[in-house]
């Protein structure tokens, strides 16, 4: 798997890439003298898409911010979004811990591409704040960053990393979503055009700026080039963060023949993602391929649910968590998510009400597209997918039974993750 590893070589486990000298030995120095047009053209040729979940073409976002820039609006701001709110995702924390210079290089590339005068790295409150500040200080002493960079932190909540929440917090407000329009690429921080990119997306940009778009396309699929960081957990030997080309086989990512127990379903994309049937791991992990089962890669979360665990119990626990993580700003989310969570909990606990699945379905449709951010939509998607994938379990629950033989929670819900799950897998 070594040849796949671009962002986390040697699985990044050594942590040596935290040192600027080592970083330059491994990747070479970054040349920022090229024009913005050339940088954006390279990223376009690479076919890079956002790695934070939305999967939007990166060059288009860069162009949108660059185009929105006017002398009267002030120069753009670029933000590296490392506020990974998803409890089942660890890849941004691992990347920032093990290879922070790639992210900060990418931030400089993005700043150059859009003509920004200010760069921000945005992370959750906690140990990353001082770690990243140290890295920025080392780079300042080495005088390698033309665009000044600062750290902004936000409470470790699920929605802190939502794009408009990021802008609000960097502006000095609360890390809560704001109403759009206008979109942040037109009017973001200080009413200036603002680029918010996931930290992994920026790390890929740092490599594309060095090695070119054609190099980037050397891995991944034609339609979805490059590698991606996956956070793999559940019934696997070595949970953790793995880098793999987009289009990798699910069974390869989970470790062929190395599952710790039989698996029935896999959560793809995260808590705003989709449950799919495991189907012996015969899935290809690309958006094009997953479309047939209604799933998207999202931010690369892959959880193999052991068949001994009840998918309804797991889903109801996560949806309850997500309902509690609502910013409580928008009526449909504030009221609808707890209602979905309540119905799911009833189903999970064996309340014999055959109308529950239809209630969940109706409520899920009801919250879709009716909020300032996509939190209700994502939560509804996840709940709806559980109704399809755990259909036979629902039938059991409605007659007061449950197939589970194991009861330890699989999907984390907000408590600090166990130490080993933060590490990088092999």
């Amino acid at each position: 798997m070594t040849s796949w590893e671009r962002l986390l070589p040697g699985s990044g486990a050594s942590g040596e890439l935290r040192d600027l000298g080592t970083h330059h030995q491994v990747y070479g120095r970054l040349d920022l003298r090229r024009s913005a047009h050339v940088l954006i053209a390279d990223i376009r040729e690479a076919g890079l898409t956002g790695r934070g979940g939305a999967g939007f073409p990166s060059y288009r976002k860069l162009e949108a911010v660059r185009t929105a820039s006017r002398p009267t609006r002030g120069r753009p701001v670029v933000i590296a979004n490392g506020a990974e709110g998803e409890p089942a995702s660890q890849k941004d924390k691992v990347l920032l811990t093990h290879a922070p210079h790639l992210v900060l290089d990418g931030l400089q590339v993005a700043a150059r591409a859009v003509g920004a005068s200010e760069a921000v790295i945005y992370v959750h409150e906690g140990p990353l704040v001082s770690a990243v500040a140290k890295v920025i200080e080392a780079r300042r002493r080495a005088r390698i960053d033309p665009t000044p960079t600062r750290v902004v932190s936000a409470p470790a909540r699920f929605i802190s990393g939502q794009e408009t929440a990021v802008v609000s917090r960097v502006d000095g407000g609360l890390a809560l979503p704001r109403s759009v329009p206008p979109p942040v690429y037109q009017r973001g921080v200080g009413r200036r055009p603002t680029l918010v990119n996931n930290v992994e997306t920026l790390a890929h940009m740092a490599l594309i700026a060095r090695y070119g778009g054609a190099w980037f396309r050397g891995l991944g699929t034609e339609a979805e080039p490059g590698t991606m960081l996956f956070t793999v957990s559940g019934a696997v030997q070595r949970p953790g963060v793995l880098e793999a080309p987009i289009g990798v086989d699910l069974d390869q990512l989970l470790g062929i023949g190395q599952l710790t127990s039989p698996v029935h379903a896999v959560l793809i994309g995260g808590y705003h993602g989709t449950w799919i049937e495991y189907a012996d791991g015969r899935h290809t992990l690309s958006d094009a391929s997953l479309q047939s089962v209604g799933a998207r890669l999202g931010a690369g979360v892959v959880v193999a649910l052991p068949a001994s665990t009840c998918g309804l119990v797991e889903t109801s626990r996560v949806v309850t968590y997500l309902a509690n993580e609502s910013a409580r700003q928008c009526g449909p989310c504030l009221n609808g998510l707890p209602a979905i969570a309540h119905a799911l909990t009833g189903l999970a606990r064996g309340r014999r009400d055959p109308s529950l699945p239809a209630q969940i379905e109706t409520l899920s449709h009801l919250v879709e597209g009716r909020g300032a951010c996509r939190h209700p939509d994502g939560t509804a998607r996840m709940a709806g997918s559980a109704l399809r994938v755990f259909q036979s379990e629902i039938d059991l629950h409605l007659v007061g039974r449950c197939s589970a033989t194991a009861f330890a929670p699989i999907l984390p819900t907000g408590e600090r993750p166990a130490r080993e799950s933060v590490g990088v897998g092999a």
Partner: protein
């Protein structure tokens, strides 16, 4: 042609809009507006404009068709 946009953060679910423009706005179980999907029919526009003007939270706006969806 245009559509009706809602600022969900501002909207308090007071329900005036659904009373003033019932042909395109209904209410969910919690009193928040549900807009009939698609373009607003021209003959609904007078009622819609009345609803926009009456909203105590100023949460409604007309979105012209050519504008980028938020």
């Amino acid at each position: 042609m245009s559509t009706l946009g809602i600022d969900w953060i501002t909207c308090e679910g007071r329900g005036l809009c659904a009373e003033l423009a019932p042909e395109v706005i209904s209410e969910d179980p919690w009193g928040y507006p549900i807009i009939t999907p698609g373009q607003l029919p021209d003959d609904a526009l007078p009622h819609v404009r009345r609803a926009i003007a009456a909203c105590p939270a100023l949460a409604l706006r007309l979105v012209e068709d050519d504008r980028r969806r938020s």
